[in-house]
């Protein structure tokens, strides 16, 4: 049985949603773990859910990134286990230095909650190996600090090492400026580490994992969790 931990920091608010999808929709074993009690041992994978950890005081994800739980997350990263950071979880991974770059305030300086199209550009990560490259997914975003940024040298490395996993696109899969909701550099919506076992993304796959909830009647987000579970089994 696949065992996945979903870490609850004070202020996490998508934790129960991820547990619901893993348990009730996908049928894997998922535990909600209070951050102080989180240990790497005993889990096949971990999800850092969205929300406002520590109220996003200081900077989004900055305080959680320095909590002891992240030391255990790093052990899992090094052991090649799948580590998924969604929204605030992505911000935490970036703040912790596990993923490169930074997440800046959206271009319009407002919170944006919207269903968007993203294209899968790397089908070889722990979370996308069940997704054909080039496939366009329909998934909502909900954030205020989601504008991905890094310098040219880093972007070059991201490209070369195929670390850009998701880009904001139009429905046809073109990464045009109009399809970029927050001003992210090169329309980046999600990136992975070099090994491909860590993924951080701003869109919320757990909100797009059941047909009932999607305006298009798809369940594209579930593909990420399915891949994660399959990756563990393999």
């Amino acid at each position: 049985m696949v065992r996945i931990a979903v870490i609850r920091f004070p202020g996490s608010n998508c934790d129960l949603d991820v547990v619901h999808v893993l348990k009730n929709v996908l049928g894997v074993e998922a535990s909600l773990v209070w951050h102080k009690e989180f240990k790497a041992l005993g889990y096949d994978g971990v999800v850092l859910p969205g929300g406002f950890s520590y109220g996003d005081y200081l900077r989004s994800g900055a305080i959680a990134a320095r909590s002891p739980a992240l030391e255990h997350v790093k052990v899992m990263v090094d052991n090649g286990l799948p580590v998924l950071g969604i929204c605030n979880g992505f911000q935490i991974l970036v703040e912790a230095g596990i993923l490169p770059g930074a997440l800046l305030p959206n271009e319009n300086l407002k919170f944006i909650c919207k269903w968007v199209y993203i294209r899968c550009d790397n089908g070889w990560t722990a979370f996308t190996w069940g997704i054909p490259e080039g496939k366009v997914l329909y998934i909502p975003i909900a954030h205020k600090e989601g504008r991905y940024f890094s310098d040219e040298a880093e972007l070059e490395r991201l490209s070369r090492k195929r670390m850009i996993v998701f880009r904001y696109t139009d429905q046809k899969g073109e990464a045009v400026p109009e399809a970029n909701p927050n001003g992210s550099i090169r329309n980046i919506a999600g990136i992975c580490n070099e090994k491909g076992n860590v993924l951080g993304l701003m869109p919320h796959p757990e909100r797009a994992s059941e047909e009932l909830l999607s305006p298009s009647g798809s369940a594209d987000g579930l593909l990420l969790f399915k891949s994660m579970a399959e990756y563990v089994k393999r």
Partner: protein, 746 residues
């Protein structure tokens, strides 16, 4: 004999002389300054409902689905399968008018606590906002920051903001209305009430520390706004959504221990309100020690501790044997708490501070202010306005139509709801802007809850009775349009100064209108909130009478969920309900003809019942692909929204619209008659739907069809009245709010 020196009431206390005499007589002695302060806030209109209580009594509050009715923190209705929905509405008008960001944010904070207090998990927020014209920089400032306050707070605590409304009218220029509502879901056996019941229970104050903020917030909310109101800014509380999120999880976890016998939030009236109301409800007394309150400011005195309205605080009654277990939950979440005292026999509210008893009064006397019977008088100006002669019809109706779509009260609200996380919680099936009501599925059973927030200030200003009855009916229609059966509602009354007989007349008329429709449709009222004194002292201008209605409905089968966007070319469009020349208070008169008179729509229980039954039946039979109620902007605006949302065109023959006494095309297009709904139905089901309508006594007919051409065409006897492209509609409807708010300085 008490000396005359002692008989002086402390300065700043706004009790009436009758109330002062009543308190002295009942208490049998002179209250001390702390006690005077407590009576002062608890006898304020905001806490006591002393003017409104005798009127609100006429609303029906019982029904087979009602579990908890008015008088508690939230109304609760039965959803079946062991689940209940708790919901509550509250106004935060006064604080938002002077400090829009924190005023609105703490409104959300307060309403969430009301839901938590009954043991339910908050799953949805709604907001109903009213401002002056968008042309006014002051109103834009209020609007921007109220929305930002709601977004920042609601998004952080992880409760989706799923529905609401915004209306602009000059009467709200100084006095904006910010009404917020929250819906919670719980298992029936987990419901708890805000009462002290068992003597011996330990009283624990949990959450944010107590400071001097918000002292006398409720007395401030019980007077009109004036130049000096700016000086009242310290009376606005400051929110901390992060602490609130911790509180939500901690409270729900603490309740699960089974050792909590009552919880209440500390909102308006602070510790005074919570201790007195919980004791009075349970028929017991309470003893607390104010030295134990965890504070954020040094040297606070007893008066400040009893009256502070610092946010994010809750009061618990805990069984002594479980105290340790419950406190461990708060420690886990690192939430500060203090053990203040205990529940005792008798009915006295007693507080000690620095070795002295500083409060010793019957809780009942503090919690239940005597009612005031206010005078009501019909304002003479109303009659003239109703009878004013009609303005003439403009030549170019297409131009008028597009202008109306762009007008501030009809244009798309996307600018607002994009800023709200409306998805968190993975329950939101019908999202903001996609249907007449928001739909939230239940996670554990295949059912859903629908919720809507409605009012109509312009109709009510001309005719509060019909305007209020119509708003209630509109809420019911909105629920039915998404496939839900209306269960119950809660109302938030926003009026001017009730001491003015003309204002009180509006209030009485409004509530009588609600009562009529509520009884007629058999939808009970399970709670509410009253906000008076929404009036500008300098100009004497009161807000238009506005009672906002939050109504909750149940969707028995997920297949019944219906949205409003058109779905498929070739389908038929059916109009249910009759259009009459009821143009008074319409957006068309106001925006296009610049006319504020005329007869507003009349509410009819019989017609509403017929329409509601027809629509619900047709949806449950599976015949309906899209449904939308006709309200602001009339039939024409409703059709346009269905087209834009579905990205499909349509053809309508206006002569087929069921109507009565209509003499002009603009009346047919823009009348805001009640009891009307548009349906998209597959062609082969048209006869079946018309049959359902005739069986239920509703007039209905097929008025046109959905087309895959990008054209939106409304013809009268073959001649086009409106003929435009979908992109013209999109431009007219989608862009006005961003243009007004992004293109202008703050």
């Amino acid at each position: 004999m008490v000396s005359s020196k002692l008989r002086k009431v402390p300065e700043g206390v706004s009790l009436t002389s009758k109330e002062v005499a009543w308190i002295r007589r009942k208490l049998g002695r002179e209250p001390n300054p702390v006690e005077w302060g407590m009576f002062d806030i608890m006898y304020s209109e905001h806490c006591s409902y002393k003017s409104s209580r005798p009127v609100l009594k006429i609303l029906p509050s019982k029904g087979p689905r009602v579990i908890v009715g008015p008088g508690y923190d939230s109304g609760i209705v039965d959803l079946g399968d062991g689940y209940v929905a708790a919901f509550k509405v509250e106004s935060h008008n006064h604080p938002s008018a002077i400090e829009p960001y924190n005023g609105a944010a703490t409104g959300i904070g307060g309403i969430v606590r009301d839901i938590l207090c009954v043991g339910a998990r908050p799953v949805a927020l709604l907001d109903s906002l009213r401002f002056g014209s968008l042309q006014s920089p002051h109103s834009r400032w209020l609007f921007r920051y109220v929305v930002k306050g709601i977004a920042d707070y609601g998004n952080c605590i992880g409760v989706p903001t799923v529905a609401g409304e915004v209306e602009f009218d000059r009467s709200f220029e100084k006095n904006c209305l910010v009404n917020v509502a929250c819906v919670g879901i719980a298992k029936k056996e987990d419901i708890i009430l805000a009462e002290f019941k068992h003597p011996g229970d330990i009283i624990v104050l949990v959450g944010g520390s107590t400071g001097r903020d918000g002292i006398h917030g409720v007395t401030f909310a019980s007077k009109t706004l004036s130049e000096e109101s700016e000086a009242d800014r310290p009376a606005v509380q400051i929110g901390d959504p992060f602490m609130k999120k911790l509180l939500i999880e901690a409270v729900l976890e603490a309740l699960k221990t089974g050792f909590v016998s009552g919880v209440k939030d500390l909102g308006g009236g602070g510790l005074t309100c919570a201790t007195s109301e919980m004791s009075a409800k349970g028929g017991v007394g309470v003893e607390i020690n104010l030295d134990r309150v965890h504070v954020r400011e040094a040297e606070m005195n007893a008066y400040e501790l009893m009256l502070s309205e610092s946010q994010e605080r809750m009061l618990f009654a805990v069984k002594p044997e479980g105290l340790k277990t419950v406190l461990e939950v708060f420690e886990k979440y690192e939430i500060p708490y203090s053990v203040l005292g205990k529940v005792v026999e008798g009915g006295l509210l007693k507080a000690d501070f620095k070795g002295e008893t500083v409060v010793n009064v019957p809780a009942e006397l503090v919690a239940r202010a005597p009612v005031i019977r206010r005078k009501a008088r019909k304002p003479p100006a109303v009659q003239e306005k109703l009878k004013a002669s009609k303005p003439s019809q403009p030549e170019n109706l297409q131009k008028a139509f597009l202008e109306l779509l762009s007008s501030q009260n009809i244009a798309s609200r996307e600018w607002v709801y994009r800023q709200y996380d409306h998805e968190v919680g993975v329950r939101t099936v019908v999202k903001p802007g996609d249907g007449d009501a928001a739909v939230l599925r239940l996670i554990d059973v295949p059912k859903a809850v629908a919720v809507t927030f409605d009012a109509n200030s312009r109709h009510s200003a001309l005719d509060p009775f019909n305007g209020h009855a119509g708003a209630l009916a509109e809420a019911a229609r909105n629920l039915v349009c998404v496939g839900a059966e209306p269960l119950a509602y809660t109302d938030c009354c926003n009026f001017g100064n009730p001491e003015k007989p003309e204002v009180f007349w509006q209030f009485k008329q409004g509530i009588e209108g609600l009562a009529l429709m509520s009884k007629g449709l058999k939808i009970p009222c399970v709670g509410g909130n009253v906000s008076f004194y929404n009036e500008d002292e300098e100009t004497g201008l009161a807000v238009k009478p506005t009672t906002t209605i939050v109504m909750v409905g149940l969707i028995e089968k997920l297949d019944h969920i219906t949205s409003m966007g058109l779905k498929e070319a070739g389908d038929a469009l059916i109009m249910v309900g009759t259009t009459l020349p009821e143009m008074g208070g319409s957006e068309y008169y106001h925006e296009i003809l610049k006319f504020d008179g005329g007869e507003p729509p009349k509410a009819s229980v019989r017609k509403e019942k017929a329409t509601i039954k027809t629509v619900l039946k047709a949806i449950r039979k599976g015949f309906v692909k899209a449904a939308h109620d006709c309200s602001k902007g009339g039939l024409a605006a409703a059709l346009a929204v269905m087209a834009v949302k579905g990205k499909l065109g349509l053809n309508v023959n206006l002569e087929r619209i069921p109507s009565l006494k209509i003499g002009r095309l603009d009346e047919l297009l823009f009348s805001e008659s009640y009891a009307r709904v548009l349906l998209e139905v597959p062609k082969r089901k048209v006869e079946r739907v018309l049959k359902i309508a005739s069986k239920n006594g509703a007039s209905a007919s097929q008025i046109g069809e959905v087309s895959d051409r990008e054209a939106f065409t409304l013809k009268f006897k073959g001649k086009p009245v409106v003929d435009c492209s979908l992109s013209e509609l999109e431009e007219a409807w989608l862009t006005p709010l961003p243009k007004a708010l992004e293109g202008t300085p703050a």
